[in-house]
Each structure stands twice: as C-alpha cells, then as structure tokens.
Amino acid sequence: MSQTSEIPSNVHSRNEDSFSRSSVNANSPRSHSRGISAAPARSEIPAVSVRNASKSFPRSDLPPVEAIVDVSIDIDLGEFVVIVGPSGCGKSTLLNIIAGLAEPDIGSVSLQGDDNAERIGRVAYMHQIDLLLPWRNVLSNATLGLEIAGIPRADADAKATELAQRFGIAEFLNAYPATLSGGMRQRVALLRAVLPDRNVLLLDEPFKALDAITRAELQRWLSDVLDRTNRATVMVTHDVEEALMLGDRVLVMSPRPGRILLELDVDLPRPRPRDVVREPNFVELKWQLLSALSGESVR
C-alpha cells in the first residue's frame, strides 16, 4: 500500500533553496530501502526498473538544475502507473530516461531486469503533442513505427487497419492530419505508439492540449482501448482525477528537484465509470493525493 508514513519527513525536509544539492542529499539517503520497490508481493522481474536515478542539467553561470533526485520505480507488466506532479517537476525527464532518450547522471534503468539493455527503440513513447507528419495520411502515420522496423507494408497496413477499428479512427485512415480534430490526432498518435508491440508504454500528458470534454472522453476511451495484459504503462499528468480514473498505482512527485513523495495503490474496480468520482473511496484517494501535492507546494 501507500508509503504515507514517508510524507511528513519529506515534506518537512524541503529546503528553501531547492537547488542546493547538499541539502537534498542530506535529506534523501540513497538507501535501497527507501525505493518504491520495497513494496511487497512483486516477485517477478519488473518490466521497468528505475534505480536511484538522478539527473541535472547544466546552466551557464548558475548552478545546474536538478530535474530528478534519487527516483526509484518498479513497474510490472500489466500495470498502469500514473505519475502526478506540478509542472516542471521532472516528470518528462523521468520518461525521457526510461525511454532511453537520456541517461541518468547517477543510478540505472533496467528493462526486464537487464541493466545494460538498449532502451531506445524498445519503449513506446507518446508525447504531449501528437507529432503527426503532415505529409502522411493517418494510415501511414500510424504505421511509421512498423515501417521503421522493416515490416512489409501490407502486413503493417493490415495490423493498423484492424486496431484502427477499436481506436475509432477506421474511417479516417486516408485523411491527412491537417483535417483532423485534436482528439482524433491524439488517437492516431497513440495508435502509432502502440503498433510496434513494445512491453513498455510511456504517455507524457497525452491529453494536455485538449479541451475538457474531449479530454474526459479520451480518458474513458484510453482505459477501454488499451490492452494492458502484456504491457507496463507509465502516464504522466498533473490532473489528479485523471490519475485515479486510469491508474492502478499513482506516484506523487515533488516540485523540482523531483522526488517521489507518495505511492498510492488505487483499489477501484474496473471499468471505472464517470461517476466513480463520487465514491467515498475515490474521494479519499483524491484527498490523499491533493494533500501530498499541496503539502509540497505551500511554502
């Protein structure tokens, strides 16, 4: 269950000077026991395992920005983990590290227990913006990953067409991105991300650029459409309700430098209907998340 017991110490340990590396080090010992992996009953090798990862970015004339400090996460196959945190807390840095787009300064990342695994190209990643290629129609945008992997065109098209049905974009396969709404474009972007059948799927605030109605619709759609059985999914968001609607587990990150403040198991049955937000369980979980978040942001 949640490691709520850790919150107070972390909350109070927050230094006024968030860039001071020494204070952070002093208050977050790099012991393995602190890591999320300490949660029991995870016997199998996790699909993704981040161990004590820290990353900072150099700046000219200023001390480096510490994006994340001593972050440890294990994610199993079949799990949907949501990371919640304020803007600029290093969530995207964490996803970039898992995807292999960046390496941590300290710490390590392993895929299926393999510390030295080449991660780039093995982790599916969907960005905040759809990043569709305007000169390709929906079908060839969706099959881009398969094309890069060298899968024959006919096979790729067949696979995409089949999934497109479930994604609700079957009738747009010949349309070009410029003619689609923002919500439709995000669906295509997700289809492109999942088609190459990776074991790990990263979603970086996938609905951020959408209006509230489309957003709620796509949240519901996402939980229906994603076959979670053979995949570890990590989603980043700053929307607490979105986290609870979708996640099996929610991690709260502190403002920069980003650390994991709280881990929360979401024991809500699936599928989660829209009115789950009124259930006492949901309200309680939401309260816990919000207080963890605000405890950090109030200075």
Partner: protein, 288 residues
Amino acid sequence: MSVLPQTENHVSSESATVASRRQTVSIWNRLAGYVQNWGTAVVIALLGLVVWELSVRLFDVQEWLLPPVSKILSELITDPPLFISNGWVTLREILVGFMVSTTFGFVMATGMFWSRLLERSVYPFLIASQTVPVFTLAPLLVIWTGTGMTPKVVIVVLFTFFPITIGLMTGLRSVDADMIAMFRTLGASKWQMFTKLHLPSALPYLFAGLKVAAVVSVIGAVIGEWIGASAGLGWLIKTSGSRYQTDKVFAAIFTLSVMASMMFILISLVQARMLRHYHQSDSEGATN
C-alpha cells in the same frame, strides 16, 4: 469496443463534417486568395500600360527614346521567330544552369547535413562566392571557356546554387527536436530519419530557394550573354540597344520577364501540388 459504440459514432461523424467543411472552405479561400493576390497586380499593370501608351502619344515622345506599348507589341507580333529562337537559347542556358544548381545544391546540402567537417570547410566559401560580383567574373569566363553556352551556364549556376543550397540546408536542419525524439523512440536509424523526416520537412524551404533561384537565373543568363554571345535575349537587347531599336529592347525585356514569371509559376504549381497537405498542420492539437 462494444462499450462505446454511441460515442464513437457521434465523434466520428462530427469530425467528418468538420473535415469536409474545411475542404470546401479552403477551395473558396484559395480562389478568393488568387483573385486578391493577383487581380490587383494585373489591374495595376494594365493601367500602367495604358498610361504609358497615352502619355507617349500625348507628349509626342520620340520612338527611339520610349516607344509606345502598341509599337512593342507589334514588334513581338511581326517577328515572333526572332524572340522565340533567341528566347530558346536563353531558356536553355537557364534550364541547364538550373539543373546543375539543383544537383549541386542537393549534394552540398546533404553533405553538410551529414558531415560537420564538410560544413566547416565548405560553408564559408559558399558565402564568400556570393560576395564576389558575378558580373566581374564574366570576362574571365569568356577567356577561359569561350563564347559558347558554357560561360552562361556557369554564371546561371553562380547565381542560383546559393538560394537552393541554403534553402535545402536550412530545411534539413530545422526539424523539431520532439519529432527527432519521436523517431528515435521508434528505433529509426539516421538514414531512416533523413529520408522519412528531414527530407520531407525540408521541402518547403527547398521550394522557397527554387523560387528565388528561378527569378535570378534569368539575370545570370543575360549577364552571360552580355559579355559575349551570338544569340539569346541578352544578346538581342545589347545589339538592339546599340542600334537605338528601343522597341526591340522592350520586346526582349518583356519576353525575358514572361519567361522568369513562367518558371516561378511552374515551381509554385509543383510546390502547391507536393505540399498540399503541409498546410495548417499545427492548427489544432499541437498548440503547445
């Protein structure tokens, strides 16, 4: 999925309407745009010609100083082969030079994209080549390569390779970092990224360069013919000018400008065709 049939259908049909409406709107917008862009210019040009014709007649200007428009037109009509044959000579110089430039631009821009070393060693000289007044090179080229087609082609190339090379190079470099990250997470090799991302992204920039090149290529050919030639519109202008055949000079200038415009329009049409899906790609969903 069976859970959501209603919402799916609703959303889909709505977006389909939006899409088709947008298409209709864009066709009308385009037509209106053409009229707005070119209609005014055509009217002004016609008005200018009328004023020209009237004022020459009204103030009784000597014909060798400034011939009336009607005289220039009659020159074109009475001896079309003169302008067609000389025009063809100039056009060939332009087209050959243009093709050489495009090939050279492709090789250079691609080379500099792949090799920083090549860029560092070549780029300064590409810029330096543009600081030399090409006109001053023309006599040298005649001495080296004679008065045939070669010096004209070389001058056209000197004028046109720069906008093409710089356009393509800028385009290849201007790819969004997020796009590159997306391709990397899909496992793309550098070559795959080049052909599937950088090259298509660079097309708008390449076309911008080609358009500039199309216009200046005409200047290059005329300069080449000015120094030493036995045919071509530049040669015709020069020889007619020295004989005070002002109407022929104007007719040749008119032919030249029509040629340059035609090339510009042709490239614009190819561009509109090839880049027809590039527009408003960031209008929605990518506002961040």
